[in-house]
Symmetry: C2
Subunit: 274 residues, 2 copies
């Protein structure tokens, strides 16, 4: 019996497995939905990755990631646009539900976050026609404000949805509880996203107290303070009933555990606390 409603973002077991091994390990636990990262796809080749997905009838809840639009000069911004078009093609080859966009932070040396945000909106606008024709929805993932400088200058759901409204069809949001759980406007903006049909992905993990590293200390569901069930209820009430995708970066703990144990814990916690 497949574990319905659960997807594994393969970053969760990136230290243990390549994509092929990760898929095998997921299938052994009846997990039939995944979300790979592009470097994991490239490591085994896009053709092989696509074959693995197709032959096993896997659902791909997203490809991570496009984005990283801001840069200090036009050539670098153009390179990012080209790379995003390739990412769209890869997402299409993998039959992914969406391409997740981590939009990028400040160009090196810049203190102008407003300008970086303009570069993001401009970059997405440039790739959107290609995404539409490829049938790949773009999912802006608002990242926690602690990543505003170096990873993503889109930091709230409200801000992401404002960009979506600007750009029209073919674009929505990936809601990762780790990034948005703290937001006083979370419920309101989830409703807004749902009403506009813009919820494209729902990522889960947990916020640990204390958190010892800004990037690589995410917790397993249930080990932290996020009201996972409450957020899930809001997202479902807003009309989204896709899979919950587990995405855990954990250099000190889960990346050091055997992959099978990580995946079985994901299944158990998905059933007990999500």
């Amino acid at each position: 019996m497949p574990v319905n409603g659960l997807s594994i973002n393969l970053a969760t077991v990136r230290e243990q497995y390549n994509m092929r091994q990760a898929v095998d390990a997921c299938l052994r636990q009846d997990i039939v939905a995944i979300a790979p990262w592009r470097d994991q796809v490239h490591a085994i080749g896009l053709a092989e990755a696509s074959r693995i997905v197709a032959e096993n009838g896997l659902k791909v809840t997203g490809l991570c990631r496009g984005g990283m639009f801001p840069a200090g000069n036009p050539a670098a911004r153009a390179t990012a646009i080209d790379d995003n078009r390739k990412a769209i093609d890869e997402a299409a080859a993998l039959n992914a539900d969406c391409l997740v966009l981590v939009v990028g932070g400040l160009p090196v040396g810049s203190r102008n976050i407003a300008e970086a945000r303009e570069m993001v909106a401009d970059g997405i606008a440039q790739i959107l026609p290609h995404a539409r024709s490829a049938g790949i929805p773009l999912a802006i993932e608002p990242l926690h404000p602690m990543y505003a400088a170096d990873r993503a200058c889109v930091n709230t759901l409200e801000q992401a949805l404002d960009i979506c409204d600007l750009l029209g069809d073919g674009i929505g949001v990936a809601i990762d509880v780790y990034h948005v759980w703290w937001d006083p406007k979370l419920e309101q903006q989830i409703s807004r996203a749902g009403a506009a049909g813009r919820i494209l992905a729902h990522h889960i993990c947990d916020w640990l107290v204390p958190t010892t590293d800004l990037l690589l200390d995410r917790g397993m569901m249930g080990d932290g303070v996020i009201d996972l069930r409450g957020i899930r209820r809001s997202i479902e009430a807003a009309g989204y009933h896709g899979a919950q995708e587990v995405e855990i970066f954990s250099a000190g703990n889960w990346w050091k555990q055997p992959g099978e144990q990580v995946l079985s814990t994901c299944v158990e916690r998905f059933r007990s606390v999500c």
Copy 2:
């Protein structure tokens, strides 16, 4: 000649000096405005601290800190209320411009941030009459969302101002660039705060890239990515012309430097980049 417009939050040199020593060191550099923490006041005694302030004609741009309202049981919440009333009295004895509120995060074991936020609004409402009669404005300091769980569940200026609007007079906000620089609604909400006469303090430091610790890795102005001049312009355009108060928690760097060097660097950077 006093360094006009600069205040030193004494946490910036808390590892080097007690309050008496810190004031002496500030005066040697013509810094005539400070903001002490309560533990620093208690360590030398409130009477002595007040005497030091009065005799030297120091401006006290704020007392840090009241708050910490949420708790798992009514008795603990009542204890917090009592302690906040004492903090108001101490602020009055020091002739402080405001009492800064770090409102508190989730009670231990709780995942209900909405409830914690209600406890905050309720707690502030309970101490506000005492603050008004003591003539001490309460300054809600929205803290960066990375502190939502364990320090403050008020995480944006918009949210803080909504609470202010609920509660009426005698309450406003402390705007610390470290906590709010990333906010896409920052300029809008600074204008709102200024129009309502609610800007009570302006704290400065910088956001380092990378940031290696969630709490104790703040940067000196100019060493990070915050547009300090831009935010200052917004705050002044909103009608606030009080001092910029330097507050740097830096276990790995500034807390290890000689206090005099830290203070002289604050003066230099205040003049060159703020």
